[in-house]
Symmetry: C2
DNA sequence: GAGTGGTCTAGACCACGCA
DNA sequence: GCGTGGTCTAGACCACTCT
């Protein structure tokens, strides 16, 4: 009974609005990224996590499942949850943005064109809703460098819907995903992507500092978020000569 | 009490050994693929599925979660679970093999070299365990054609461990995943993949009927299965001019 | 308001890996 | 034999969508 009262109290004042499993997920993810748990380490057992965080097993399992999907851990029946290697390649295919996914290498972000508000391009590479079309889009171009070598050329399109002061923010060396999360409470929840191999055109070869017509990996991504009906788009060209893109499925 | 007795009976005689959520998943997946539920259709609600199949909600939810991960449905709070479009592109990135993932198009499989037992190549593209190395590998090459145009050139390496009569089976126009499932009770559970864009060499250009040096998508995949320690490998070259590869994340 | 999916509890038994 | 993760039950309350 007293428990019920506390629960009511907690919910009334909304000390935090993230669900429990997500809070646990974020905590463990942070610990893995910060190296508290290293590659090959065993996470605490599910029962331990239950006890420590005061939740039941399904909740803990939900958090761990999310870590599995994100490619952070691998579960082994009878053994436990093992932290997997942070990809040596660039794990852009998982749910994280690029910034958190390049292991040992130094990743920098260079802004080619600051975000600016404009019309959506004609013949956009994904279908747009009427609301999106009417709102116009925020357009930005970035180059990602790994160890000072350009590897990605990334064109991002966001719908211009309720993103106050977005164009004035500092993006240099900061993750777009992080900015969306911290400043707008927008979390990436999933998406679709299309892969193809194309020859580098004039522009791409210039940005990636490679010869014209050299094969580059082309990605078109539609990225869904926790904000209702808010999706954004990214068109990405990647020089895979030194860094393959990798992911789990 | 009587329920408990029935459960015991059922488990003793193992009428089937798939877990409930997986049986429900397979059933719904089959219905979606067979067109019982079409794109945009609403699946029965979770409570309905509980009642119809005699399981509780967490079990139903587990099955639906698996469908979401496989890219079959999308859930909308307050509305229901909606069947999503079967990718018009080739959804090789999801957990299915290529055969079940090409929508309207006709997909055929041509065998370049029948499976044969041999040594693993030197400098294999993923790290091999000692057991794998000692067992040798089963090697096969296939070409996938979409509407009679070659799109994939697929080299598969399986560890030669307990796969009786594998080399004598008919692979023409059959899915490897299906053969593994039906004949060996091996289910694909996940894996890793690396993407890069490379110029087609002599051999690739011949198999895919394209010009030499044309950009092709290169995939190296490590595919994990439900059989303990049994993983296999695939090296794939794809002409993405007419069919982008697509997937969800 | 009725129905949907989202989150969560408090238990239970099982299969697996290891010592 | 013990602890691990895997599966499952039988409930509960919530937020969301539709009408």
């Amino acid at each position: 009974m007293f428990d019920k009262f506390l629960l009511l109290l907690y919910k009334t004042f909304k000390l935090t609005d993230l669900p429990q499993y997500k809070k646990l997920y974020e905590l463990l993810r942070k610990h893995i990224e910060d190296g508290v748990y290293k590659e090959g380490d065993l996470l605490p057992s599910e029962n331990e996590l239950c006890a420590v965080h005061g939740v039941t097993r399904p909740t803990v399992r939900h958090a761990l499942d999310t870590l599995v999907r994100g490619g952070y851990i691998k579960k082994h029946q009878g053994k436990g949850s093992i932290v997997i290697s942070q990809a040596k390649e660039i794990g852009i295919l998982s749910i994280q943005g690029t910034t958190s996914a390049v292991g040992e290498n130094k990743l920098r972000t260079k802004i080619v064109s600051q975000p600016k508000i404009m019309q959506w391009p004609d013949h956009f590479f994904f279908e747009l809703s009427d609301v999106e079309k009417e709102s116009g889009c925020i357009f930005m171009e970035r180059i990602r460098l790994v160890n000072n070598v350009p590897v990605f050329y990334d064109i991002t399109y966001l719908p211009n819907i309720n993103l106050p002061r977005f164009c004035n923010r500092k993006f240099e060396d900061r993750s777009l995903f992080e900015i969306l999360r911290k400043n707008y409470q927008i979390e990436v929840t999933g998406g679709q992507q299309r892969f193809s191999a194309i020859p580098a055109n004039e522009e791409i070869s210039k940005f990636l500092e490679i010869k014209k017509n050299k094969p580059v990996l082309h990605l078109e991504r539609r990225i869904e978020t926790s904000r209702n009906n808010f999706v954004f788009y990214s068109c990405l060209y990647c020089n895979t000569e030194f860094h393959a893109l990798s992911g789990t499925f």
